[in-house]
Amino acid sequence: MADSTLPIGGAIDLTPPGEVYGTWLEQVHEWVVTVDHKKIGLMYIAYALIFLLVGGVEAILLRIQLAVPHNNFLSPEVFNRIFTMHGTTMVFLMGMPLIIGFGNYLVPLMIGARDMAFPRLNAFSFWMTSLGGLFLYYSFIGGVGLQGAGSAPDVTWWAYAPLTERAFSRGHSTDYWALALIVSGFGTIGAAVNIIATTLCMRCKGMTLFRMPLLVWLNLVVAGMILVTISPLTAAQIMLVIDRYLGGHFFDSQAGGSPVVWNHFFWIFGHPEVYVLVLPAFAIANEIIPVFSRKAIFGYPAMVAASAGIGIISLSVWAHHMFTVGMNSASNAFFVLSTGLVGVPTGIKIFNWLATMWGGKIRFATPMLFCNAFLIQFLFAGLTGIMLSVAPWNWQLHNSYFVVAHFHYVLVGAIVFCFLGGFYYWYPKMTGRMLDERLGKWHFWLFVLGFHMTFDFMHIPGLLGMPRSIYTYEPGRGWDGWNMIVSIGGFVQAVATLIFVYNLVYSYFKGPEAGPDPWDAWTLEWATASPPPDYNFASEPVVSSRRPLWDLKHPEDPDSRYE
């Protein structure tokens, strides 16, 4: 290549940027009206980061209250609101925006497209999601409820009926929960429609479906799942609003309705939802692990099939959240088996990641550290999940801290860890600067320490019978010391997170310049400048294998010869 050391010479416009920043107001206006997938992606990610911190503060408050028995740091009413908001925030205002933000940013770049299929729908989806979330938080000031003003929802994040019916949840706190999530859900469905249309219709020349990066495949599966996952929640919440405001009887047992119907509808949403959250984490691992093992991903077709399999099977397992509700044995058995079945494609993925690393030349930069921790932690989380999927075991541990420990192990130990790895990996692309490696390692090791202090030991009070959703507990049950360790671990994680936030801000101004391809990676997003220009690629890329940049950097040994 005559013009530069860059692998795809014509793809990058090398004219020096002559952009002139307008006034502060003009810059804000640009971001508010943008339809560019990169800016929208960054707004989603920033929104998720803010709510990660808010949800984290809520968690710290909960852990202070639970650190010692008979504590009165938080009243029971406040405790109920805080843990409801913690769960709702982390799932809907942190998790979903984070996965949609990364998907929005990366999918068009990875398929060689200029933008998403429907840019204005993209903007609309972001604003619906974000404003829905702000509406939820307005409840802290505006939600007049049973306990007077300032009533955030206090009905747990799964909001079982009949607690949520008008008679038992006076005032508007539950309405904030339902309406905020309905609004936010429209945004999520819009984003899913966009990702599907973009992936199926806007790939660059030569990129067949089986040459797409696995991240794009997983986002496609996730988008398909979102269509059939969020919709049941929206339907159930509409039913709840009808019950609360129009005198409906969907969940009203006095009129012949059944609160268990809410359980079913909610978990028909709720279980696939957690797979919606975890599959993008797999997507990130699929990109990071090969690059830092210097080896292509092992078993690409099996990974595609396993991802689709997980997506489909996960739609059939929901009632493993309801083993204690009183279904008959045949139903219980069905859900035990289907839940066990979903472990099979998941296991295939874990083995393939290990096989990718085996024989590779591993480089333990910060992204790889987070992904390796993910592998170990996700395995353990999956094992406790399989334990919980066995109905008799579940009857002992349903609604105990064992369950809380299990799902935080997945949510934090797998999902947050992978996304942190993703931050370190793609921050150079998004901002043009590298994150500081030393701070990154401090962040990683402190976070691992805090995570394990909290969530390893949390299993024990659960096994000893400590229920969830209680605002305090008696001394002398054997739970005391464990809760204290769990709480201290929370503070360690908080310190680690603050180091991360400092790194994000500091490196934006002082970090070393990244260039287009700091990690020597292989997918198309690394073929353009960092940060990419508005139009992404100066000329449409043409690919002939799964690793187009490898082909260009190694013309004597292209992947296209082997695929």
């Binding site: 010479g9 966009n194 219709c201 806007m202 269509l227 919709s231 009887h249």
Partner: protein
């Protein structure tokens, strides 16, 4: 050698054909809407016969044959109008399209009359009993989708009558007609569940 392109080895596995993004987007939306309607249908079916008071379906529901024929015919008329558009016969397009709007409006009016009778004569509201709750929710959800569809169809009709719509827009019009066919298909399911199985 062109620095920005890689020679395609073994030829490209696809011939570069990809579907129209509007169609894919609308089909995705239809999948999501199917899931929402599915939940309401499941609730309706589960609660059949479980009302503990109030009017029963069999006592108050008249099978809306005329309404259904109108709505399902509107699928035919919209298909006809699409054929006219592809040929460039704008006058014929507008005629068939307007007929679609009229048939949809007749369906809505029929629903409104049915509800008026149910509320004022039979005393059935959304809060009367389980049947009332599930009936008005399900049929109402469908009717609201008909309203949205009619609004969009009317906008397209205005574009056609003012000469702005051309035959090269047939892809976009096809996307809207997909939505309309979906609304009709949902009615087939709702009709079967409410007026045949549930009675």
């Amino acid at each position: 050698m062109s620095a920005s392109t890689i020679p395609l080895a073994h030829g490209s596995a696809n011939d570069g054909w990809m579907p129209y993004k509007g169609t894919v987007g609308m089909l995705s939306l239809i999948v999501a809407e199917t899931a929402i309607f599915g939940i309401f249908v499941v609730a309706y079916v589960y609660y059949i016969g479980k009302s503990i008071s109030g009017p029963l379906p069999r006592q108050v529901l008249d099978v809306p044959i005329f309404n259904t024929v109108c709505l399902l015919s509107s699928s035919l008329t919209i298909w006809m109008s699409e054929r006219m558009l592809k040929k460039g016969a704008m006058g014929a397009f507008s005629l068939w399209w307007a007929l679609t709007v009229v048939l949809g409006a007749i369906f809505l009016a029929g629903t409104a009359l049915e509800w008026k009778k149910l509320i004022y004569k039979d005393g059935l509201t959304i809060s009367t009993n389980l049947f009332g709750t599930t009936f008005y929710s399900l049929v109402g959800l469908h009717a609201s989708h008909v309203i949205i569809g009619l609004t969009m169809l009317s906008i397209v009709l205005i574009f056609a009558l003012t000469g702005k719509l051309k035959s090269e827009h047939s892809h976009q019009v096809e996307v809207l007609s997909l939505y309309w066919h979906f609304v009709d298909a949902v009615w087939v399911v709702v009709f079967t569940v409410v007026y045949i199985i549930g009675r």
